[in-house]
Each structure stands twice: as C-alpha cells, then as structure tokens.
C-alpha cells in the first residue's frame, strides 16, 4: 500500500462504519485516481471534501438503532465535545502562562513554582491529544494509556477539592468532574470491536465538533488578552455558542437524537458549573429546557416510527 493510499484510507476512516462497508473501496480508488501522479498526500481540496462528506454522513439519522445504542453514542459524542472544550481551556491557560512568563521570570518567581503550574496542563493536553490520535488510529494500547492517565487526572482533581461535602460538591464531582472519566470510558468503549460499530462513528464525528470548539478556545486566548475577559466568561460563551450550533443542527432537520443527548450533556455540565459558582437554582433553567426538548423530540420520533 502506497503512502498516498494509507493517507487516503486514514481520511476515509472518518466515515461511519455502514458507509465504509458500502463505499470505502470505491471511494479510495476514485480519490487516488483524482490525485495527480507523484503525489504522496491527497490534494487539499479532496481532503476538505472528504472531511465534510464524513461530517454529513455522520449527521444522518441513525437507522432504527435501539435506544440504548443511541444513548451510548450520544454520551460518547457529548464526552468528546466536553473533552474538546476542556482542551480549549487547557490551551487558553497555557497561552496565558506563556503570556505572563517573561514578567514572572523578571519578578523572580522560582522555576520550580513555574514548572508546577505548567506541568499538569501539559500532561493533560498531551493525554487528550494521545487519546484522540489513538482512537482515530485504533491503537488499543494508546487508548488504554490515555484512559488511565485521564482517570488519574480526574482522581487528582477530586482529591484536591477542599470545600464542604454538600450538594454543590456532589454536583461538582458528578458532572464537570466526571468529564475525564466519561471521556476515558467512551474512548475505551470505542476500541471494542462490537461496540466500535456503535460508538466510533459518533466519536469521530463529534471529535470534529470538538476540534472546532478547541479552535475557538485558541482564538479566545487572543480575545481575553485584548478585551480583558476572564477565562470563565470565555468558557461560558464558547459552550453556549457550541450548544447553539448543535441546537441549530437539530432544528435544521438532523433528526438525530445522538446530537440532542450530547447537547444535553454539555448544557447540564455547564449549568452545574454555574450552580457551583453561584448557588442559584435558576442556573438549571437550560437543563430544564434541554430535558423538555429531549422528551418532546423522543415522543415525536417514537410516533414517527410507530406510524
């Protein structure tokens, strides 16, 4: 297999399993024929076209899958989305660290203190990157290492909590604190042969969404520096924008409950974080809306199937 074909196959692996089973060999052949001789990389235009076509293929409604499977795919999608937002946050903090580094060095901040600040961020970023690449390349060992590291990061975050153990603590641990565990579980499930059929398509499609979220977070780095916004505000704006985007996708007729589950997961996580900071029960207004919409959506889908 030539280097070009290997790269084209890496791109076609972004498509859902059912699509690949039907079209992959032809798709690879046509893409190779469409490349001028002597190239070792597919043309940028073809690469972009394959990525967009893969997103469109994922956006189609799942055909008569049991609800349990749809739910798992939705959770995997939501976990990927939240992981993407998390990657964006880490990138933002790393950027701020680098931004203030010259000043800190001038002020004589000890090197050990600087290293202690930046090391966990780098470790977390590397873990998410490793996990993403391992899932895409289907390297089970890599996924295992990434998942274990993420669980470790989640446990450390839990153990470092010093506040009172009340409802806010429970929510903090149960929802936002669960992201690393959720991502680790979804990534591990994606490598299992049978479940991969269910989880991997959602996982890959959703990774594309989270990449967009991460790109936005990176752009937000410059926004915080220029407009003096706090990272927390940017966090809320980015999650709200991404949630809005997903809502638009649903309204545009994707008719895919997986996106709604993912959206629900993101909004619940966002609302819980807001509640932890403000103790205002109204923070769960968004959750109530999502639950209501999900219920109505599900009823409509059931009626449609029954008819």
């Amino acid at each position: 297999m030539s280097r070009l074909e290997r790269r084209v196959r890496a791109l076609t692996s972004l498509f859902p399993v059912a699509f690949r089973a039907r079209w992959e060999e032809e798709l690879v052949r046509t893409t190779l024929e469409n490349c001028p001789a002597g190239r070792s990389w597919p043309r940028p235009r073809d690469t972009w076209d394959l990525v967009l076509a893969a997103i469109r293929a994922h956006a189609k409604a799942p055909a008569d899958q049991p609800f349990r499977l749809v739910l798992v795919q939705g959770i995997a999608l939501g976990a990927t989305f939240l992981a993407g937002v998390r990657v964006g946050t880490v990138l933002l903090r790393l950027g701020l660290f680098l931004y203030w580094l010259p000043g800190n060095i001038t002020a004589g901040v000890p090197f050990a203190e600087l290293a202690l600040t930046v090391a966990p961020l780098v470790l977390e970023l590397v873990t998410y990157m490793l996990l993403g690449v391992a899932v895409l390349l289907r390297r089970r060992a890599g996924v295992g290492v990434g998942a274990v590291a993420l669980v470790g990061i989640g446990l450390l975050a839990t153990l470092r909590y010093s506040g009172p153990f009340d409802l806010r603590w429970a929510l903090g641990m149960a929802v936002p604190g669960a992201v690393p565990f959720l991502v680790a579980a979804a990534a591990t499930a994606a490598t299992t042969a049978e479940r991969a059929l269910a989880v991997r398509p959602a996982f890959v499609g959703l990774a594309l969404v989270s990449m967009a979220a991460a790109a936005w977070r990176l752009a937000a780095l410059f926004v915080t520096a220029t407009w003096h916004l706090s990272p927390g505000t940017v966090d809320r704006v980015s999650v709200a924008a991404a949630a809005l985007l997903l809502a638009v996708c649903i309204a545009a007729g994707f008719a895919d409950p997986r996106w709604l589950v993912a959206l629900g997961l993101a909004v619940v996580s966002w609302n819980a974080r807001e509640f932890i900071q403000t103790a205002d029960p109204l923070a769960f207004l968004g959750t109530a809306v999502v639950v209501t919409v999900a219920w109505v959506h599900w009823r409509v889908l059931r009626r449609g199937r029954a008819a």
Binding site: F19, E26, L27, R29, T30, N34
Partner: protein
C-alpha cells in the same frame, strides 16, 4: 436539487460510468467551473441509489480493486428531465426580467 447532484445525474444520462468517470464528465459538463470531490460524489450516489434514481450497472475488477459502473434508472431520468425543465423555466424567467430593464 443542488448542482453536484444535477451534474451526476446528467453525467449518467448517456451511458453507465464509474466513479472517476462521473467526476471527469461532471467537470467537462460544467466547463470546469464545478469540481465534485470524491466524498461529495459517493455521498450523493448513496442518496441517489437509496432513492432509486441510480442503480448498479456492472462490477469489474481492475488492478485487484472493484470498479463499479452506475446507470440512471427510469425514475432517475424522470427526475433529471423535471429538474432540467425547472432550471430552464428559471433561466427563461430571469432572461425576461432582465430584458425589461
């Protein structure tokens, strides 16, 4: 109907073609202004086959790889004729309106 789908149906209107043949013919038909990518092509072929507008004509093995030829169905030809008529009407309307100015 979007331009790529229209061009794919048009490319298949004279004889069966394989995927790469469809891409070349669509580019030729549009005078090089519309270039359909492989991902768009097979996404559209899936929709068109599911809708019964296109069907498999034959399969050949070349260089150890499958080479499938697709043809337009009767229903697909009907849709193409309707869409051509719709586009023609639209162009006619635009011409009349522009002539008045």
């Amino acid at each position: 109907m979007q331009d790529p789908t229209f061009l794919i149906l048009l490319a298949l209107s004279d004889r069966p073609r394989h995927g790469y043949g469809i891409l070349l013919e669509a580019k030729e038909l549009s005078g090089g202004t519309i270039r359909i990518g492989p991902g768009t092509l097979y996404g559209a072929l899936e929709r068109l086959e599911d809708a019964g507008h296109v069907e498999l004509d034959r399969e050949e093995i070349e260089d150890g790889r499958p080479r499938r030829y697709y043809r337009l169905t009767r229903r697909g030809r009907g849709v193409l004729v309707e869409e051509t008529q719709r586009r023609e009407n639209l162009v006619g309307l635009a011409k009349r309106r522009l002539a008045h100015r």
